[in-house]
Amino acid sequence: MSEAALNLSEVSFSYSKRQVLDGVSFTLEPGEFCVLLGVNGAGKTTLFSLITRLFVSRGGSISISGHDLKKHSRKALSQLGVVFQQPTLDLDLSLIQNLHYHCALQGMNPSKISDRLQLAMGEIGLADRETERVRALSGGQRRRVELVRALLHQPRLLLADEPTVGLDIHSRQAILKQVRRRCHEDGIGVLWATHLVDEVEPQDQLIILHGGKVLARGSAEEIMQQTGTDSVKQAFNYLTRSETS
């Protein structure tokens, strides 16, 4: 049996005295598309900062593809691809230069780089614009570049922190479709943080995070059944209201 793409056990974190995450535990299997749903301030970005080791949790443990993040951080991070909430492309560099920079940061073998870059350019559909500066690309195109870039080194886990925020409906749909396909075809575990309920499909795995705690974990259909609601939006409102009251 293959290792879980991501495993969190009793992860807690606080900024000074403010508790942001409280005993968060869940497992994400390879090939699983899991939506992390929560309002702004629920703790999603902090959780991502802990998984990417930008911060270190005071309590609990995190492992990526079976590698403990504290004990074997290099092995764990090498299995991780990330699309951050803020754009991380260098606007003054060309598209291809940005991708080469990522390959270097992953220490990728030069013999593999050209093939993968060629595939990546085809996937983004921007092969004819590879030498243009990223500044010239639209918001949706930049996001697609970031997504493909995060998967260039073939990680076992993809983290996407609200990557569709600010994009039009068509760009959002195109990006979601692209990620779901790669998740299914390549067996990548995907943790997709969002506050947009319309991005959740009934068969998706769903984690509802609220006030730093996991309120529900299961498929969207199961959670709707458990809460006796007809939509993810209703289920989310039901769970977060009862938690608040």
């Binding site: 703790g43 900062s49 930008l54 560099l93 230069q97 920079y101 390959c103 270097a104 220490g107």
Partner: protein
């Protein structure tokens, strides 16, 4: 991780820094215009006012232009080091710093690569400046240009490490302007870049001690002596000591477990 992978990572960071510099023409011009204004205008105007007596490493009377060139070379490194740290604060706010930090290579290695890459870009600017100064009749011995390289490298790393330390401690981009005023200008003016320390000693003993304590003074003197084929050992040890101190502070600041990064960011 194999040695070849470390090399690829370092090369990638170096190429990125070089490309960024080439693409940002305003930054390139700004970096060059600043010391040239000091050399062409300030030095010409103050040549008659600020006479310089014979002091090591010079063996004869020199023009004021010749005296300030090492200080202006160090100024390029100082501005570059601070600009690099400014870009790190910007990158952190904008997100691209995260790209670097989530690489599987050790964080100290990534920061050292970034620091070294920034320093090499700054040294290229210094050599361009020295080339222009050569046509302005500031002509140290040719061997001096070779010997100056390690001095420029050490000084650049030291000032870059200071910038790195500051960037780890600064919360927001807006706070950076204040820090620049409190760091760049006092460091530059309270040093031997524009006037020899004995002149400052004549005016104020207190200020003289501050200048002697200033690591930038030692960077200037290290570059000055090396340009004339000599090693200023006192300056060398002061620069190396400051480099190690600033570097240790910066690595602490960027350490996710102990550092300052996590204490100052709000959570989403």
């Amino acid at each position: 991780m194999k040695v070849a992978q470390y090399y690829r990572c370092m090369w990638g960071i170096f190429v990125r820094e070089a490309l960024r510099f080439i693409h940002q023409r305003e930054r390139f011009l700004g970096a060059l215009v600043r010391p040239l204004v000091w050399l062409f205008i300030f030095a010409a105007g103050f040549r008659s006012v600020l006479g310089v007596s014979i002091i090591p490493p010079y063996e004869t009377y020199i023009l004021y232009e010749e005296y300030i060139v090492p200080g202006l070379a160090a100024m390029i490194l100082l501005f570059s080091g601070m600009q690099s740290s400014l870009s790190m604060v910007y990158d952190r706010e904008m997100g691209s710093m995260r790209m670097l930090m989530v690489s599987p290579f050790p964080r100290w290695y990534l920061l050292l690569c970034k620091l070294s890459a920034g320093t090499l870009v700054a040294i290229a600017q210094v050599y361009l400046f020295l080339g222009i100064a050569w046509f302005w009749d500031v002509q140290p011995p040719l061997i001096g240009y070779v010997l100056a390289f390690p001095a420029l490298l050490l000084s650049g790393l030291m000032l870059g490490a200071l910038g790195l330390l500051l960037s780890s401690a600064i919360k927001q981009l807006e706070n950076f302007a204040g820090v620049m005023n409190f760091v760049i200008f006092p460091m530059f003016f309270a040093s031997s870049a524009l006037y020899p320390l004995w002149r400052i000693k004549d005016s104020s003993l207190y200020l003289y001690e501050i200048c002697r304590f200033n690591p930038f003074t030692h960077a200037v003197e290290l570059i000055r002596f090396s340009l004339y084929g000599q090693i200023g050992w006192g300056a060398f040890f002061a620069v190396v000591g400051s480099l190690l101190l600033f570097l240790a502070g910066a690595l602490y600041g960027y350490d996710p477990a102990r550092g300052l990064m996590s204490r100052k960011q709000g959570g989403g």
